[in-house]
């Protein structure tokens, strides 16, 4: 087996890794936003639910979260009469990662919201905006910029966490590499894993580049 073949087979796993990454990140953000919103409510039920969710999810190792999603979600859905046993494993992988990361993102959003200067909100109100306009036009954009470094770190963490989906039998880049290494009885073993590391590294570099460009665009907005 040639090294170029190794690279090609590893790259075959890349789309799965990227799909996992993209969808779990999107859903984690959506759930995270909802959670942060609930957490910031004064309503004790909403607030209590968010706290409980955050506490539980943050205390669960990502690997375990994937197993819980894979074995637990079908049971949970059966309770309401929906059979999702036949769903693709990928969906459970996305769900497990999204649930895990939603808690961290919720915290990032919440703390960013709280650290927006209160004077910004007051200034918006006194120029005649209503509370919704003040939130959407002034507070949210600033909170987003404050949260950005945290979001970037969490996304990079998620890149690496996608490799954990082998526990529920999803074939991504990482499990392809492990298979290759086993099939080759030790030949190219180191090379396989070095190439794998390089591919992850490139993905992370691209993410950092994107965030850097974004920051540069808003460099004069110091929140």
């Amino acid at each position: 087996m040639k090294l170029s073949k190794v690279i090609i087979s590893l790259l075959h796993g890349l789309p799965t890794t990227l799909i996992l990454l993209a969808f779990s990140f999107i859903f984690a953000n959506l759930i995270g936003l909802g959670l942060a919103w609930l957490y910031l409510r004064r309503n004790p039920i909403a607030n209590g639910f968010a706290r409980g969710y955050l506490g539980l999810v943050r205390g669960t190792p990502p690997l375990l979260m994937l197993l819980l999603a894979y074995y637990g979600l079908p049971k949970l859905f059966l309770l309401v009469g929906i059979d999702i046993n036949g769903w693709a494993k990928l969906i459970f992988g996305i769900a497990g990662l999204a649930i895990g990361w939603s808690a961290y993102l919720a915290e990032a959003f919440r703390s960013a919201y709280l650290s927006v200067d209160a004077g910004q909100y007051e200034a918006a109100l006194v120029v005649g905006m209503d509370t919704k306009q003040a939130f959407l036009r002034i507070i949210m954009p600033q909170a987003f910029l404050i949260a950005l470094p945290n979001i970037e770190n969490l996304l990079i963490g998620l890149v690496k966490a996608t490799s954990l989906v082998y526990v529920i039998g999803i074939v991504d880049m990482y499990s392809t590499a492990v298979d290759l290494s086993n099939q080759n009885q030790g030949v190219y073993q180191l090379e396989i894993f070095v190439i794998l590391a390089l591919i992850y590294w490139v993905v992370v570099l691209l993410i950092e580049w994107g965030f850097r460009r974004f920051r540069k665009h808003y460099q004069y907005v110091t929140v």
Binding site: D117, G119, Q120, E122, A123, A124, L125, V126, V127, G128, M129, D130, Q133, R137, I138, P141, Q142, L145, Y218, Y220, V221, T222, V223
Partner: protein
């Protein structure tokens, strides 16, 4: 009478910050509020535009009677859209350029079109000589420039009254003059304003009336020359002589 405040009371926990404030403002008047730190000057302004809610008291504004302790959402929005405020630390929107800082209130508070709002904002910037900075963000502007934009943001809305809370206190001494100059220009144009200030020269020369605040009360109020030349209360005399070097 444009604005009439009656018996405003406000306390934070056990701290009685406003102990029954009465104040009337005629159209075109410039009222200076002076007094020691912690006497409740800022709190009074914040009760007028509902950034705080008073415990009791009422406000007659543009012939509308509003219970300051129980304003409706509609009354709050209505009142704010006929008033403006200039903050001590400017509070320019950090995520908006100078131009957008000014036009935002026109679009979202007064339903003007974006083009019309930007045009008015450009004019307002031009008037204070800062049109060249229209695409700058607050972080790229000096404190003096930020505050002059803060004033433009307030006045572009054509408010019946502008509330100033120590607009020059955060500025380097050499920048104070330009901001005071803008405020004097406004006053000369007949803009009604209430100005909380430690700038005694402004209070004396620009304000038509001065109210001296002490401990949550207006201890003394009158024409500015009366207050400065013949203060009646001992507290007023003490306060004025303590900061005598300022004017």
């Amino acid at each position: 009478m444009l604005l009439e405040l009656k018996n405003i009371k406000k306390q934070f926990k056990n701290n009685h910050v406003l102990k029954g404030i009465d104040l009337s403002v005629e159209k075109g008047e410039v009222i200076a509020i002076i007094g020691p730190s912690g006497s409740g000057k800022t709190t009074l302004l914040r009760n007028i535009n509902f950034l705080e809610t008073a415990d009791s008291g009422s406000m007659l504004f543009r012939e509308q009677q509003i219970d300051l302790a129980k304003p409706t959402k509609k009354q709050i929005l209505w009142a704010r859209r006929h008033m403006a405020m200039v903050f001590q630390n400017y509070n320019l929107f950090k995520n908006k350029t100078a131009l957008k800082n000014i036009s935002e209130g026109l679009v979202f508070g007064q339903n003007k079109s974006k083009t019309e709002a930007d045009e008015l904002a450009c004019q307002a910037l031009d008037q204070v000589g800062l049109l060249g900075k229209k695409d700058f963000y607050p972080s790229q502007l000096s404190g003096g420039q930020q505050q002059r934009i803060g004033i433009a943001r307030a006045t572009v809305l054509n408010p019946d009254i502008v509330l100033f809370d120590e607009p020059t206190s955060a500025l380097d001494p050499e920048l104070v003059g330009t901001v005071l100059h803008d405020m004097k220009t406004l006053a000369d144009k007949g803009q009604t304003m209430i100005v909380v200030t430690h700038q005694m020269s402004f209070a004396r020369n620009v304000a038509s009336r001065v109210a001296f605040f002490s401990d949550g009360e207006i201890l003394e109020e009158g024409r500015s020359d009366e207050i400065f030349d013949h203060p009646q209360h001992e507290r007023t005399q003490q306060f004025l002589s303590a900061i005598a070097e300022d004017y």
